[in-house]
């Protein structure tokens, strides 16, 4: 019987026979009590297997040859271009990397919180597969044909370095230091490796743009409210929340290593709310998904605030203490009233209290930055402590010696109040809270419903879920800031959270936490002796790429009117007027610096032709007299260079990465023992060291020839304390006499000098899998407890420390003239900028399958997608255009035409075209990438500067926008 069964089956077994019906139908057809006429196959005694040792040994030996020898394993991370920061172990055999595996050895901070292993992702898991690809740059190359034509000759390192150094030298001696542009791009954000060219640029006085704003990943709206854009928590904090809100982000796709905390949090009783236009990979597991109309997030935030204020869903004491809501604002011109404006002898002013506070503080006071409230207790106008200009640096409203109860609304003290100014005149005042209430009237849930597609009932749920539970975290994604008015959206959401008063252990606003890491200055700087030319990222790239030309092509007056309230020409003029004072550094401190003097470019790891919008590439190449590029592979950017310098990739160097603070660990790379290097590739530190040595040689030779001092001491009276760039000693200065010239030295420097890493060495970190735990000094505005998840702002809540804002508080009000004029003095929302004649909004969120453009060309990863660039559209949008899934389509607007594949999915709303970002232009026919369709326009509010804490720097530099380019599509 047993034997005939197989025989009988053979006849049934027509390979390829068709089989209809689904499993489900079959299941229903099956009898509930099967009457088995065949034994279970494993009960067949014949199955006692013969030895299959041959096969088993084959697989065993395969495993052994990928694993290699554990003693040889290296450690690494892949977040040179990512924010994930995960410790990996690199397996190798006979000097060749075979594969990688997460070290998965992070310690648990508490038995009650899931540990953070095995941090990593699909991209990191395949670096080994691309590091030996045929697109690796193995030796220096010099262009022999037109730029981008793909004609190269192999040259020696000495030839290559000489040519780059000579160009840098010639530019320094003709244009000056500001003619050079030396930059490590967003492709290398790690602290050790990235410091190489930063140090070089600083030493030579070259221009360096700010990365976060040119990639459009800033949180300027959050900075406005909190004085700091990067606030929030480590992701393990999510585990103990009551509600988690993910707004404009898709952590299941873009925070892969951290996402488990969200769902473990859900199992721990937390409610997960996702607010995104598309039914994202995160939304599918949420408790509530809010399908918002893209670009109207600010309107929703205002509506939620409307609901909170209307139904008293906020803590008034918190608002009085920690926000500027009680500050007095003039009725006539909407300016805040400062202590400097007031007649101090006026009897309505609480002069005694002011004196008392001054006495207690013993500090300096700047009356222009001291703000006033109406004290409910005394009925008098009172100068509040805690603002930037206040002598007393606390947010405490009550202590020994003072007791203030600021009126939130002027109506709370009877209304119709006036204050007496220095010139003796009186002026009517109200509060910032009154401003807010007035503004919120425009944003009732019923009024915003049509714009946002969010029903008032949902707004009501959101208001209560955010305001009422004990611990609520509101996370916003980078996509919000990619809309033209996205800064206002970030600010509206930030204000909404500020209204709830949540800080520290109660959760609150979460963007992207950063640790406070000190002691790294010496890696890229020279104790202030030499300064870089630090340029605005968003603005300098816009200017360099002739962004205004594209904007003019794409945006009609009508579009600008909708988004800004003025026509294109007027808006443009206002922008240009704002930009002028800081052009070419003429106005340091007067705005956002940028230089249009640059002609020689030395850039590493920066896919700017992929990233930037419209016609950027053409404009850049026209302005670049010389362009040297450093990369480990023939990326799209590399194909356009004059000289290509081959770099080592992630497993071939020593490196260190700390921030951002999704977790509390810093990761360290060390190459596997005995690694055979690829071609003649060198680390960026080695390249920089070779360059300064050559530069010194060139300068000294020239000096020997001419005897002219200016040939070794390049004048620089704005950015060098000595007034010069001393090229005769540039090599020894760079390496600090041989102490700092390699990637390994850079890591050792960091381990020796960063107090937050205290006590760690290369050996100790590599031994445990390539990481260390940032110690208690890593917390910025909250303590970093050893056994609790981190959450910012606790120091404000618990210790009443002022915020780094002008008001010293969470800030709702900006009385900068441009902001008042734009109707944006108080938190508000504005319409998106989008060319109306194209019906589909092109959205290009961060990718699951690449780290921006890194790994976009990985066959391993491409085989897990469609294998080529594709855009997702809704079934309806496809249907009306006669497009089928998999069709090649043309996506177009006034700026460009791009050919790619259509993928049809109901995940995407009608009226949208969604594609993962990062596709390299050379992956498209004609090498025109999708960002060629994305025009941009500078936002006047983001450009404005010089008010309180809104001054050019790492927290206030606007954003390059990406979601302003609408498109139409058709079948190719």
């Amino acid at each position: 019987m047993k034997f005939t069964r197989r025989g009988a089956l053979r006849s049934l077994f027509a390979i390829g026979a068709s089989f209809a019906g689904t499993r489900g139908q079959e299941a229903k057809a099956a009898p509930s009590t099967p009457n088995k006429d065949q034994p279970r196959i494993v009960d067949d005694p014949r199955l006692s297997p013969a030895s299959i040792k041959g096969t088993e040994d084959m697989y065993r030996s395969e495993f052994a040859s990928t694993f290699g020898d554990a003693a040889d394993h290296g450690t690494a991370f892949h977040c040179v271009n990512c924010q994930g920061n995960c410790a990996w172990t690199v397996w190798s055999k006979d000097g060749k990397v075979t594969r990688e595996s997460q070290s998965a050895n992070y310690p648990a901070i508490s038995p009650d919180i899931p540990d953070s292993n095995p941090r990593g992702c699909n991209k990191g898991a395949q670096h080994s597969q691309i590091m030996y690809n045929e697109d690796r740059l193995k030796w220096p190359l010099r262009r022999t044909g037109e730029r981008g034509a793909g004609q190269w000759e192999r040259i020696s390192w000495d030839e290559a370095i000489t040519e780059v150094a000579q160009n840098i030298y010639d530019t320094m001696t003709t244009v000056g230091p500001e003619g050079n542009y030396i930059h490590v791009g967003a492709g290398m954000l790690s602290e050790a490796r990235g410091a190489s060219f930063k140090r070089l640029g600083t030493l030579l006085g070259a221009v360096r743009p700010y990365i976060a704003s040119y990639v459009g990943d800033m949180f300027p709206g959050t900075s406005l409210v909190y004085g700091e854009g990067n606030i929030g928590c480590t992701y393990d904090f999510m585990f103990n929340t009551n509600v988690q809100v993910y707004w404009g982000c898709n952590p299941n796709q873009t925070r892969i290593p951290d996402a488990h905390y969200i769902w473990e949090g859900k199992y721990n009783g937390s409610k997960v709310i996702v607010i995104t236009p598309e039914f994202s990979a995160t939304a599918i597991h949420a408790d509530l998904w809010v399908p918002i109309k893209p670009g109207y997030d600010g309107h929703l935030a205002m509506s939620i605030m409307h609901e909170m204020v209307k139904h008293d869903l906020f803590d008034k004491e918190r608002a009085r203490t920690f926000t500027d809501l009680p500050f007095l604002v003039r009725d006539d011109n909407k300016k805040m009233v400062t202590l400097a404006d007031l007649d101090l002898k006026w009897d309505g002013f609480d002069h005694d209290l002011h004196e008392d506070l001054h006495h207690i503080a013993h500090g300096e006071e700047n009356a222009e930055e001291v703000f006033l409230c109406w004290d409910e207790r005394t009925g008098k106008v009172t100068a509040l402590p805690g603002s930037r200009g206040a002598a007393l640096k606390t947010l405490r409203l009550k202590d020994r010696g003072w007791d203030i109860t600021p009126a939130l609304s002027i109506d709370d003290v009877g209304g119709g109040k006036k204050v007496q100014l220095k010139d003796g005149t009186t002026v009517g005042v109200h509060t910032v809270f009154d401003e807010l209430k007035e503004e919120l009237k425009k944003f009732s849930p019923e009024a915003t419903h049509k714009l946002t597609n969010v029903h008032p009932e949902v707004v009501s749920i959101l208001a209560r879920d955010i305001a009422l539970p004990e611990v609520v975290s509101v996370t916003i994604g980078f996509s919000l800031g990619k809309h033209f008015n996205g800064m206002l959206t970030q600010r509206a959401i930030g204000s909404m959270v500020a209204l709830t008063g949540r800080m520290g252990p109660e959760g609150g606003m979460n963007t992207e936490n950063e640790w406070s890491i000190s002691g790294l200055g010496g890696l890229s700087g020279f104790s202030g002796k030499y300064k870089q030319r630090f340029a605005s990222g968003a603005i300098s790239e816009f200017v360099l790429g002739d962004g205004m030309k594209d904007a003019e092509k794409l945006f009609a007056d009508e579009d600008m009117q909708t988004a800004t309230g003025t026509d294109f020409a007027t808006y443009r003029k206002a922008i240009e007027q704002e930009l002028k004072p800081a052009a070419n550094d003429e106005g340091v401190g007067k705005g956002k610096s940028y230089w249009d003097t640059v002609e020689t470019f030395l850039i590493a790891a920066d896919a700017r032709f992929r990233r930037n919008k419209g016609g950027y590439r053409d404009a850049f190449l026209k302005k670049a007299k010389f362009f040297a590029y450093v990369d480990f592979r023939m990326s799209d950017m590399a194909t356009w260079a004059d000289i290509l310098l081959p770099a080592r990739s992630h497993y071939e160097v020593y490196d260190l990465r700390t921030n951002p603070g999704y977790h509390r660990f810093a990761n360290i790379s060390q190459p596997p023992k005995g690694l055979k290097h690829i071609g003649e590739a060198k680390s960026e530190w080695d390249i920089a060291t070779m360059l300064v040595e050559k530069l010194q040689e060139i300068a000294l030779a020239k000096f020997e020839q001419t005897g002219k001092q200016e040939h070794i001491h390049i004048p620089d009276d704005t950015h060098s304390q000595t007034g010069f760039r001393e090229l005769d000693v540039v090599a020894t200065t760079f390496t600090d006499n041989g102490h700092l010239g390699t990637d390994k030295q850079a890591v050792e420097y960091a381990l020796a000098n960063v107090p937050q890493f205290r006590g760690e060495t290369l050996e100790s970190t590599v031994g445990r899998g390539g990481f260390l735990t940032v110690n208690e000094q890593g917390g910025k505005s909250a303590p970093l407890y050893p056994n609790e998840p981190y959450s910012t702002l606790e120091n404000h809540l618990a210790l009443h420390e002022p915020f780094e804002t002008l008001s010293g508080r969470m800030t709702f009000y900006v009385d900068h003239p441009i902001w008042i004029q734009s109707g944006a003095a108080i938190a508000t929302a504005a319409m998106p900028l989008s060319p109306k004649r194209f019906p589909l909004l092109l959205m290009t969120p961060h990718a699951r399958w690449s780290i921006h453009s890194t790994y976009k060309t990985s066959a391993t990863l491409l085989r897990l997608q469609r294998g080529e660039p594709y855009v997702m559209i809704s079934p309806k949008d496809a249907d009306v255009r006669g497009i089928r899934d998999g069709d090649t389509i043309v996506m177009h607007n006034d700026l460009a035409e791009v050919r790619l594949m259509a993928k049809i999915t109901p995940v995407v709303p009608d009226g949208a075209a969604v594609m993962e970002h990062g596709w390299e232009p050379f992956m498209f026919e004609g090498k025109t990438g999708h960002n060629a369709l994305a025009g941009d326009m500078l936002n006047l509010l983001e450009v404005s500067d010089g008010w309180g804490h809104l001054k050019f720097g790492v927290h206030w530099d606007g954003n390059q926008h990406a979601y302003a380019g609408n498109v139409e599509i058709r079948r190719a």
């Binding site: 197989r6 049934l12 077994f13 390829g16 089989f19 019906g21 689904t22 489900g24 299941a27 099956a30 006429d37 279970r40 196959i41 494993v42 005694p45 199955l47 006692s48 297997p49 299959i52 041959g54 088993e56 395969e62 075979t98 595996s101 899931p114 540990d115 292993n117 992702c121 699909n122 697109d135 796709q253 996402a259 488990h260 769902w263 473990e264 199992y267 009783g269 039914f279 599918i284 597991h285 509530l288 419903h449 009932e457 023939m634 194909t639 060309t857 085989r863 897990l864 997608q865 294998g867 080529e868 997702m872 049809i904 109901p906 995940v907 390299e920 992956m923 498209f924 004609g926 090498k927």
Partner: protein, 333 residues
């Protein structure tokens, strides 16, 4: 006879679709030697045609009486998709980066599509490996007795020395988790990373799973999560149990997802975004009870009560998710 059985539980509520498992498996086993087009581990979006395309309609398994059912070997191009290549070398010549082969399907072709109409549509991720069945159809179907089940751990292996490449196993597997290696003229499949297990390492897909959704252990180890989730709490179920192969990979089925919306945009209380019938078609009628138990525990936890079931699923310690050291049945610790 099989003395002990290793099993895996995958929690679909924690799966984020990142495919780190797929890539980990690929670099461990299938990036070479004729296996390039194989995905011993794949993750597919459900509902969807999956990988290989339409595998659920390709037959195999047993009927209720234990008789093998006919099945077919999926088409290489149309159902698996070729592992397409690229011209990385030509980037030095100024060429555009292009796919060497025209592709009509691949292992993740219908990623994030699913079913239904926006905004009430639905999908979830389903990772799949060989189920290392207790009643393997592949084994039953092999003419050459080339498929065995290891006595010490129940891992199902194709003996490459006896395999003649006749592919009955592929047709017979209702999950289409056996693949043909054209280079070797043999079939190959997931080996549950037994060489890693023998060295004390969990399977690559499980150890490297970033969502922490995979538990591995012996089904007779009462301390193991697989035992608790499968036997005690009964929240982990086999896929397509009606195929009669008795899989040893179990799934915690997906909760229904966010509330649906009515025409005006109001959330519909108690609405089920993923149709229960659809889940039943995947996991059998037991799925309703399993989800009810899971939901009840979630309510308990929300109300502040402890839940051992959820604590197991939370998996506080990554290392403790794997209990793979072979011990005699009944042994503790």
């Amino acid at each position: 006879m099989v003395e002990r059985q290793l099993a895996m539980v995958m929690d679909l509520n924690k799966c984020i679709g990142c495919q780190t498992c797929t890539v980990a498996c690929k670099t461990q086993w299938t990036n070479r030697d004729g296996r390039e087009g194989m995905y011993w581990n794949n993750v597919e979006t459900k509902p969807g045609q999956g990988y290989p395309r339409g595998w659920e309609d390709a037959g195999g398994g047993f009927d209720a009486n234990g008789n093998l059912q006919p099945g077919k070997v999926p088409g290489r191009r149309s159902q698996y998709g070729v592992p397409w290549d690229y011209n990385h070398d030509e980037l030095f010549n100024g060429e555009t980066f292009t796919k060497g082969q025209k592709a009509k399907w691949g292992p993740n072709w219908d990623e994030d599509v699913g079913a239904g109409d926006f905004p009430n549509n639905f999908y979830f991720y389903l990772p799949r490996i060989c189920n290392h069945c207790s009643n393997p159809a592949c084994l039953a179907a092999c003419n050459n007795q080339a498929i065995i089940k290891r006595p010490q751990d129940g891992i199902v292996l194709v003996d490459l020395d006896r395999c003649q490449g006749e592919q009955q196993c592929i047709a017979a597997c209702p999950y289409k988790k056996v693949y043909f290696n054209a280079l070797r003229s043999r079939t190959e499949k997931c080996i549950f990373c037994f060489p890693r297990i023998e060295k004390g390492l969990p399977p690559a897909c499980a150890e490297q799973c970033v969502g922490r959704i995979r538990f591995v252990g012996f089904l007779d180890d009462v301390e193991s999560q697989v035992y608790k989730l499968v036997k005690v709490y009964k929240v982990a179920l086999p896929l397509h149990p009606e195929a009669g192969t008795e899989p040893n990979v179990y799934y915690v089925p997906p909760l229904s997802g966010p509330l649906q919306y009515d025409k005006e945009g109001r959330p519909i209380p108690g609405s089920e975004r993923i149709p229960p019938d659809y889940l039943e078609s995947l996991f059998g009628p037991e799925v309703h009870g399993a989800l009810d138990r899971l939901k009840a525990e979630l309510e308990r936890k929300k109300a502040g009560h402890p839940s051992d079931m959820l604590d197991q699923l939370i998996a506080y310690s990554h290392r403790d998710m794997f209990r793979i050291k072979s011990k005699p049945p009944g042994a503790r610790g």
